[in-house]
Amino acid sequence: MARTLAATRIDWVGVAFAVVLTIVIVFPLLVVGTWAFAEVWRFPALIPQQFGLRFWNQTLARADVWEALRTSLSLSVMVTFLSALICLPAAYAFARLKFPGRDILFFSFLVGHAFPKFGLLVAIAAIFLQLNLIGTFWGVVLIQLVGTLLFMIWIPVAAFQSVDRRMEEAARDVGAKPLRVFWSITLPQAGPTIAAAVLLSFVGTFYETEGAWLIGAPAVRTMPVLMISFINNQMVIQYGAVLSVILWVPSFVALLFARRVIGGGAFARGFGG
């Protein structure tokens, strides 16, 4: 009796959460979106006096925006590629092979996460200073690589571990070579999760601000670094708004792809929850 009553009752708690979270989380972003398409928005008006795309043309005509976009994209591609090259074989080894010192090595990855990241970046930067890597492209690549390492190890390890071992053994029993087993059985099962990890590390690198600012600026200017200078020094509000909207596109793509990984709970477990 009580159960059927509960089922038909309107979920007021849920409605309250939904409304409050919508206001707190979606509303600020809507305001930014509106600013990006506002040509004139003076103080007391609730909505812009004039909408238009004038500031899109102006923002996209700026050389520094294109330069930063190119820097950001080439950095992200390079970092993601290197990270995948280094981490995926390691993740497979961690998930499958038994070798001495395996646990210790695994936790050495964790240690990187157990220190405040910015302090770590400063410590790395102090070393880069002696190596003359400050203000260079490769300096930024290296420092951003650190940020992706943990990510690219954790999620793929979980993916490889969840592959059904019996199917691999069955394939081996009918005479498949190890490489063939990996290609036809292991990879298709682990693939989507690994693709999500790669995507997340790409997006994470794209938005990485601290390392790029500390090591790269002012010689290497990525999109987020450009955005900081827009916030601090730019009088035209719309430039920042347009840049925000452009910047948010990769994140939105990631959001669509990453839903299954995060919803699956592997993600939270990866963080130790």
Binding site: F43, F109, L110, P116, I143, L145, I228, I237, S251, G265
Partner: protein
């Protein structure tokens, strides 16, 4: 190969940072044990103000995050359907908003003449005292930014609470508060501590939000380190600050590693 990289990029910088701040040449050039930079940090009014601001922000954010995220996680755990799915989607959403865009949105909404001011003005109410460039600016931004991770960790922890145990407690007449206190909280303790560790670690290294939204002085440790390193060209003191930040986070870092080790032992 990845191990070498981790050692070179993580372990080595930490050791090098510690060694180089306590074992370095004095004025005459002879190497020796030297704690000057630490003595300077802990006697310098400004450095101490920055440290206490960071601790204050961390404390406030941790409390706010628990107060906000625990009810959301509890609600999500004990309900199903489309509305909870929507709530969960929203709670995780900030993870996909880069902090730099968040900073910009914050200024446009809560900054001077921002959206909140516009709405209050339209309703005939006085303007708010904007939290932009006050210590509350980073607090609001950081809480917003940390909601997804906290909710996810708490939710994962709530997975350990079985429906049977909750129903059994209800059947013997326990009220919601009693159920929460005696059944749920003991199982959730570990997750709360993990979430707390994350908040502390994240806040000590927060840079973008405090840098853009916070006051210029005193500032949080992130911007302080950055300014010491880049604007004052003083890597020695910046590294000292980093080591001090490591020290404060050590307990939480160790706890985090231990907790993951326990959950993950293959």
């Amino acid at each position: 190969m990845p191990v070498v990289l981790v050692i070179w990029m993580v372990v080595w910088p930490i050791i090098s940072a510690i060694v180089r701040t306590i074992w370095r040449p004095d004025a005459s050039g002879a190497y020796g044990f030297n704690l000057d930079t630490y003595i300077f940090f802990f006697t310098d009014r400004y450095s101490l103000d920055n440290l206490s601001l960071t601790l204050w922000t961390t404390g406030i954010c941790a409390i706010l995050l628990l107060v906000i995220c625990l009810p959301i996680a509890l609600y999500l755990r004990f309900s199903a359907g489309r509305l909870p799915a929507y709530v969960q989607g929203l709670a995780i959403f900030p993870m996909f908003v880069p902090s730099i865009i968040l900073s910009y949105a914050f200024i446009r909404v809560l900054g001077p003449n921002g959206m909140v001011d516009l709405i209050l003005n339209a309703a005939g109410l006085p303007k708010i005292r904007t939290p932009y460039l006050t210590p509350w600016g980073p607090v609001i931004g950081l809480v917003w930014d940390n909601i997804p991770l906290t909710v996810l960790i708490l939710l994962a922890g709530l997975g350990a609470v079985t429906n049977q145990s909750v129903e059994a407690a209800r059947d013997v007449g326990a009220g919601p508060i009693r159920v929460f206190w005696d059944i749920i909280l003991p199982r959730l303790g570990n997750s709360i501590l993990v979430a707390l560790s994350f908040t502390v670690l994240g806040l000590f290294s927060a840079f973008t939000l405090p840098y853009v939204l916070g006051p210029a002085a005193p500032e949080m440790m992130g911007p302080f380190m950055q300014r010491t390193f880049r604007d004052l060209y003083d890597p020695l003191n910046a590294t000292t600050q980093a080591v001090i930040a490591f020290g404060f986070c050590l307990v939480f870092g160790l706890f985090y590693v231990r907790s993951v080790a326990k959950n993950r032992t293959p």
